[in-house]
């Protein structure tokens, strides 16, 4: 279906090609997973399939890309629209119409299909993706998971043979992500659509893939193969695969179910080893960093938070979880004084955060917003660091030194917008940390982060907690929460439905349990590294 023949792509102004010598055959009806570090050229590879690269982005393409026999060099994206459906990373940014039904029809209108065909296909697609109840809803009122399904539906109505998705689940909570993946699964099975998808969260998608393509970046050639082949020695792998490698399971399991069936011996081996308790290291300081008491926040007639009473102390890493729209971001913004409260009390550092102004705020609490790019406004990294030192009134060079610790590879002269998603996050983190706020809040820090950057973030967070910072993460990433959190708070419809030590909370819920916990249940192990430590003790 898709053939890359000796393809190299060089963007204008770049000296090195992003992709070089790519040879790749993707047969019809396969679900292909493209993995690789941020900035390795995954998105370029995806966008080359429908000709956006180079027709839209510029640059030179050598070699040949054939999609169902059509050459992308001579067919611009609009002429391939009937063949390739492209779902962009942020579905909202690609919407043209304003209600669900019209959005589904837009692509067909451009193709000039007959009215009765359009009508039938819209109805079919509404059913296929479970959108029938939403047909007249304005797109702006949909949740993130619903938007993603509408985005998929809106390209499906043109009956493309190929569907290309760029990180379809990265912004979704675990439940919504499963809905989207189930819909894709159905397309592959029922309609023989070829799906090519890039995704960082391997733990969510690897079991659905027929083939994995690894884009290593730095001009190295790409590798492709079946999931079990590729996962055997891939540098990046989901926890289930890492556990399988650690325990030496053959064949390597890719799903939690297969792993659990192989896990009997491991479970026995671990008997007598208690999973380590997450304790707060360093001196315990009884003074809380932030308190909320019966906090209620309303938007119009919707209560975003109801009667939330929590306390965050030094040395804690708290994971705030819950589905999209549960009020996680609102809680974080209220702690910084961005949102007025309707009832109840918030005290950050003993004060009402809305009363704290300017420099005093950055010295008492730091928030890294969902899109860290919001914080950045200078035109170079160096300029950003200088203005951060000035804002926080600290020694010149403080921010730069922090950044060198967090992300040593970032150069001074780069424009912040040219950094990768992960590097931008670390830059924003460095800026926030420059003022040494005792309380650090992060909103969805791992969205779009690859495994190496995530590992680095985990290390940084642990060190910060050890030196007495209190940290709150709002996240959908159950593996991250299992890895670093000492405590988990689950929000639903603005209410706290669970609040307790990580083990207790995540093990009680199948939705929030990490893969290792699911495999080794009923033992309460959460991460591969915990199991590894225990096995080393066992052997030694």
């Amino acid at each position: 279906m898709i053939n890359f023949e000796h393809v190299s792509i060089t963007y204008p102004g770049a000296t090195e090609p992003v992709l070089a010598g790519v040879n790749l055959q993707i047969p019809a009806g396969e679900l292909v997973l493209v993995v690789g570090r941020t900035g390795s050229g995954k998105t370029t590879l995806l966008r080359a399939i429908n000709g956006l690269v180079p027709h839209f982005t510029g640059g030179t393409l050598t070699g040949r890309i054939l999609v169902d026999g059509r050459d992308t060099a001579t067919n611009p994206p609009r002429e391939l629209a009937d063949l390739v459906g492209m779902v962009p990373q942020d579905p909202m940014s690609g919407f043209v119409a304003d209600t669900v039904e019209e959005e589904l029809a837009y692509g067909m209108e451009c193709l000039g299909l007959a009215a009765d065909v359009m009508r039938r296909r819209v109805e079919e697609t509404l059913d296929l993706l479970g959108l029938a109840d939403l047909r007249n809803r304005p797109l702006l009122s949909l949740s993130a998971g619903q938007r993603q399904r509408v985005a998929i539906g809106s390209v499906l109505t043109s009956h493309p043979k190929v569907l290309v998705l760029d990180e379809p689940t990265s912004a979704l909570d675990p439940g919504a992500a499963e809905d989207v993946l189930a819909a894709l699964q159905r397309l592959v099975h029922d309609l023989n659509v070829t799906v090519v998808m890039a995704e960082h969260r391997l733990e969510r998608v690897v079991q659905y893939a027929d083939r994995i393509v690894i884009v290593p970046g730095d001009g190295e050639s790409i590798i492709s193969g079946t999931p079990s082949e590729m996962m055997g020695n891939s540098p990046i792998a989901p926890p289930v695969v890492e556990l399988g490698r650690l325990a030496g399971w053959q064949p390597l399991p890719l799903t939690v179910r297969d792993a659990r069936r192989a896990a009997g011996p491991l479970r026995e081996l671990l008997i007598g080893h208690a999973a380590p308790l997450r304790i707060i290291k360093g001196e315990r300081d009884a003074t809380p960093l932030t308190i909320t008491e019966k906090l209620t926040v309303r938007y119009g007639d919707v209560a975003a938070l109801r009667n939330v009473s929590i306390t965050i102390t030094r040395g804690e890493i708290v994971a705030l979880m819950g589905r999209n729209g549960a009020g996680k971001s609102t809680l974080l913004s209220t702690m910084v004084g961005l949102k007025p409260t309707s009832a109840g009390i918030v005290r950050t550092n003993g004060k009402d955060p809305r009363e704290i102004k300017g420099p005093e705020l950055v010295h008492s609490v730091g928030l890294v917003p969902q899109d860290p790019g919001d914080l950045l406004e200078a035109s170079t990294v160096a300029g950003e660091c200088r203005s951060s030192d000035h804002d926080a009134s600290v020694e010149p060079g403080t921010t730069r030194a922090l950044l060198a610790l967090l992300a040593p590879e970032v150069m001074d002269g780069v424009h912040p917008r040219d950094l990768s998603e992960g590097q931008r996050l670390l830059l924003a983190l460095a800026i926030v940390l420059a003022a040494r706020p005792p309380l650090l809040l992060l909103d969805e820090p791992t969205r779009g982060l690859d495994y190496p950057t995530k590992a680095r973030l985990v290390k940084v967070l642990r060190e910060l907690a050890a030196t007495g910072h209190g940290i709150v993460l709002a996240t959908h990433d159950v593996e991250l929460a299992a890895e670093v959190a000492t405590r988990v708070i689950v929000l639903a419809e603005g209410e706290v439905v669970a609040d307790g030590p990580t083990q207790a909370v995540v093990l009680a819920s199948p939705m929030f349990a990490p893969q290792v916990a699911k495999i080794l249940a009923p033992e309460d192990w959460l991460t591969v590294s915990e199991v590894r430590t225990a096995m080393i003790e066992q052997v030694g």
């Binding site: 429908n50 956006l52 027709h55 994206p77 609009r78 002429e79 629209a81 009937d82 942020d90 940014s93 690609g94 919407f95 043209v96 304003d98 209600t99 019209e102 837009y106 067909m108 209108e109 451009c110 193709l111 000039g112 299909l113 007959a114 009215a115 359009m118 009508r119 819209v122 109840d133 007249n136 809803r137 009122s141 809106s154 043109s158 919707v302 999209n324 729209g325 971001s329 609102t330 974080l332 910084v336 004084g337 961005l338 300017g358 705020l361 950055v362 010295h363 730091g366 928030l367 917003p369 790019g373 919001d374 914080l375 406004e377 951060s388 804002d391 926080a392 917008r417 909103d443 419809e493």
Partner: protein
């Protein structure tokens, strides 16, 4: 307001709403009678409250009401500062500046009379009413539904307008986000420097978004070439534009007070004829098709008819110089209520009943309220 004479809920053709609203606006442009103007606003508000959709654009009517108030305040303010005073009821005597001879007629300060303020208020109210009528159409019809009815020859132009319109609310949200970020960095969020600092990220963000949208539209087949040659397509668009401009000039000449009637009607007829020719040509060769085009049936006729009727009633009243259409401000008199325009106003309220109800938007769960910090 529930129930309709036509029980099947559906969207009304956007053009019908616009004809109705423009009819109201035409009527408003013909009078300075504050009672009639207030009634026009009341009619618009009544119909909007009965038939506005539960969608973001449906909430824009309030904004236009506020804009109306601003227009009146500005108009009266300008009169206070620059306007020439007339009448006898002096409210306030401000120190005046006599302008040099080459600026005769422009005045600064001086006497402020009740009569001159009243005239300014009537004038402002008329302008505000026209704006509110446009606002009514805006909140009844979504911009993209209107686009669906734009002739194929003007489609590309229409898309850019609609995209620009949907970007405005997003821009407001972006400004908000950037201000939030400034607060998080401990910087001032008000003042000139704050605005300058916020402008760059907002514009960069907007630019990035438009590039993403362009890529998405390209991938979905926007602008596919059909069988038609480029030269012919350009010729079609040019014809349509010329026709529309001619029709606009004609309409303006017809409704604007004091322009020659002889210019108006022929211009309008020629313009409309050119438009129709171009639209029929391009419809024959268009690649695009329409999904569930809005039908034009009895309700559309009734709504558009109501708009035409109110326009005619006011135009006729002004044609025969019916007393009461203009309220003299010197000396101030209590406005009268002429019968013919009242009748027109009554007809203009009928869309609140004759327009079909809107299809239910099944809102089972509360709106998503995740807000980016």
């Amino acid at each position: 307001m529930t129930g309709s004479l036509f029980h099947l809920p559906r969207w009304l053709h956007p053009a019908a709403w616009w004809i109705w609203a423009l009819g109201l606006a035409t009527a408003a442009s013909r009078t300075t009678n504050p009672l009639l103007l207030a009634l026009v606003i009341a009619v618009a508000a009544l119909v909007v409250s009965a038939r506005k959709p539960d969608a973001p654009w449906g909430r824009s009517f309030k904004f236009f009401l506020r804009l109306g108030v601003v227009v009146i305040v500005i108009r009266v303010g300008v009169q206070l500062i620059f306007g020439a005073a007339f009448g006898t009821t002096v409210l306030l005597d401000l120190p005046g500046v006599t302008s040099p001879s080459w600026l005769a007629g422009v005045r600064l300060g001086g006497d402020i009379t009740f009569e001159s303020l009243l005239l300014a208020f009537y004038d402002g109210l008329r302008l505000a009413t026209i704006l509110i009528c446009i606002g009514a159409a805006n909140s009844l019809v979504s911009p993209s539904r209107l686009l669906k009815s734009v002739p194929a020859a003007l489609y590309e132009f229409g898309v850019s307008v609609v995209v620009a319109m949907t970007f405005t609310p997003q821009l407001v949200a972006d400004v908000d986000r950037v201000r939030t970020a400034r607060r998080l960095r401990g910087r001032p969020t008000t003042g000139v420097r704050a605005i300058a600092g916020a402008a760059m990220p907002v514009f960069e963000g907007a630019l990035e978004k438009s590039v993403t949208l362009a890529a998405a539209m390209d991938s979905r087949g926007y602008g596919r070439r059909g069988t038609i040659r480029a030269a012919q397509r350009r010729m079609n668009s040019a014809l349509l534009l010329i026709g529309l401009v001619a029709a606009c000039i004609g309409t303006y000449a017809l409704i604007a007070a004091g322009s020659p009637m002889a210019l108006g009607l022929p211009m309008l007829i020629v313009g409309v004829a050119v438009c129709i020719t171009s639209i029929t040509w391009s419809a024959r060769t268009a690649v695009r098709t329409r999904y569930r085009p809005d039908p034009w049936a009895l309700p559309e006729n009734l709504v558009a008819g109501a708009g035409i009727m109110i326009a005619i009633s006011f135009l006729a009243a002004s044609w025969v110089s019916m007393p009461g259409l203009d309220t003299p401000s010197n000396p101030p008199t209590w406005p009268a209520l002429p019968l013919l325009p009242l009748l027109g106003l009554l007809i203009a309220t009928t869309p609140a009943l004759t327009a079909p109800e809107l299809p239910r938007t099944k809102v089972a769960q509360p709106r998503s309220i995740e807000v980016a910090a």
